[in-house]
Amino acid sequence: MRDMFRMIVVLSVLCGLSGFALSYLKMITAPRIEEQVLANVQGPAIKRVFPYAENDPIGERRRFEADGRAVMIFPVRSGGALVGVALEHSSKGYGGDVNIMVGFNLKDDTLAGIGATTLKETPGLGMRIAEPAFTGQFSGQKTPVQLSSGGGVIDGVSGATISSAGAVGAVNNAAAVYARLKKDILAAWAK
């Protein structure tokens, strides 16, 4: 009986200590990790969507509120004027959330392009939604977009319907946020 009690106490104390130490470490590394993810994942995705950006969209990002959820908006300037914005949104894929960076042209509200950021789809199959052959189809499209199987113009990756639908869903989610926030976005960067 005493042995059992000791086992429980030792294991609980050990787990408690490790949980405490890790949550502390997570707290102090969180801002740096966010910065690293922005620089290494979202930065290149924005660059792919807006190759002509002349500013630093990461450095000029701003936080907005949409439906009680914080959204990060990345402004893109070219020739001194604000020409587009990029924002990231997600939707259910085959292996968890599919996160897509979606770029919008401010002039006519069409898609400037999309770039996959973090996703865990099946390698060689669902992961192909991150390739230009799929993502390239979105440039210039009006939102909301639809897969060709649903009467739209986007050809899904064959054999990866769920992943393709996830990407399309993420784009449409982003478009909804963009439509709601457009006025605020224009006002925020008007000055």
């Binding site: 042995d3 490790s18 740096r32 990790i33 993810v37």
Partner: protein
């Protein structure tokens, strides 16, 4: 003296991937370039040294029945710490190593050294053991990664080292290349030991026998079993 011995045994005599043949999952999976091997090795050194240290410090408190669970909790906490630090300070490396960073938890070397060494020895000796084993592991991975990167990509730590006309053997940076390379290294190390033993005048056959079965000890058990069967 003994601390030094604990340290150096991991560098050659008990070199983890090539001599103990432990920790093969990361050895085979992430060594497609020298820098990946080095990064993986550094993460393992960190976890191994600290887990050996902590385990040897608390070895008298931990009840024998739940020791494995305790070791895993300690190793897993350290691995998560490495994962967070790597994300914060070496993000590109974290992206390349991917799933193999969290998998350090189940790396045989960590639990193997905890159970076989740190749970029975003092703090200084355990740290030396962890450092030696970790360095040996890092050297092995970097060595294997270097061979594969040079042959499969014509570069070493990202620098071009082969002449222009060199046609990279793509298979070397893919999964089969890891097996081919590891097999050849193991064969080479066995040959080296064989030669050394013969030079010392020992019986080569005796050594070969010992190497194959020394760690197993199953032969005597089998022999006993056969005798029992005969008696019946």
């Amino acid at each position: 003296m003994s601390v030094l011995k604990e340290f150096t045994k991991g560098l050659w005599k008990e070199l983890p991937p090539f001599r103990l043949v432990l920790g093969l999952c990361p050895t085979l999976a992430v060594t497609n370039s020298a820098s990946n091997g080095l990064g993986m090795g550094a993460a393992v050194i960190f976890v191994l040294v600290l887990s050996n240290m902590i385990i040897s410090m608390v070895r008298h408190i931990i009840p024998a029945k739940v020791r494995i669970a305790c070791f895993i909790v300690i190793a897993a906490s350290l691995v998560v710490a490495v994962e967070l630090l790597m994300q914060a300070y070496a993000y590109p490396l974290y992206e390349r190593l991917g799933i193999f960073v969290p998998l350090i938890v189940v790396n045989c070397i960590i639990l193997g050294r905890a159970e076989a060494f740190a749970a029975k020895n003092g703090v200084a000796a355990s740290v030396a053991d962890g450092l030696g084993m970790g360095l040996g592991f890092t050297m092995s991975l970097t060595f294997l990664g270097s061979i594969r990167e040079v042959l499969g990509n014509g570069t070493w730590f990202g620098m071009a080292v082969m002449p222009e006309s060199f046609e990279p053997l793509r298979i070397m940076v893919q999964a089969p290349g890891a097996f081919i390379c590891l097999g050849l290294i193991l064969a080479g190390m066995n040959m080296l030991n064989f030669r050394q033993a013969r030079r010392r005048g020992e019986q080569a056959e005796a050594l070969a026998q010992q190497q194959g079965c020394g760690s197993c000890g199953g032969c005597t058990a089998c022999g006993a079993g056969a005798r029992d069967a005969q008696a019946q």
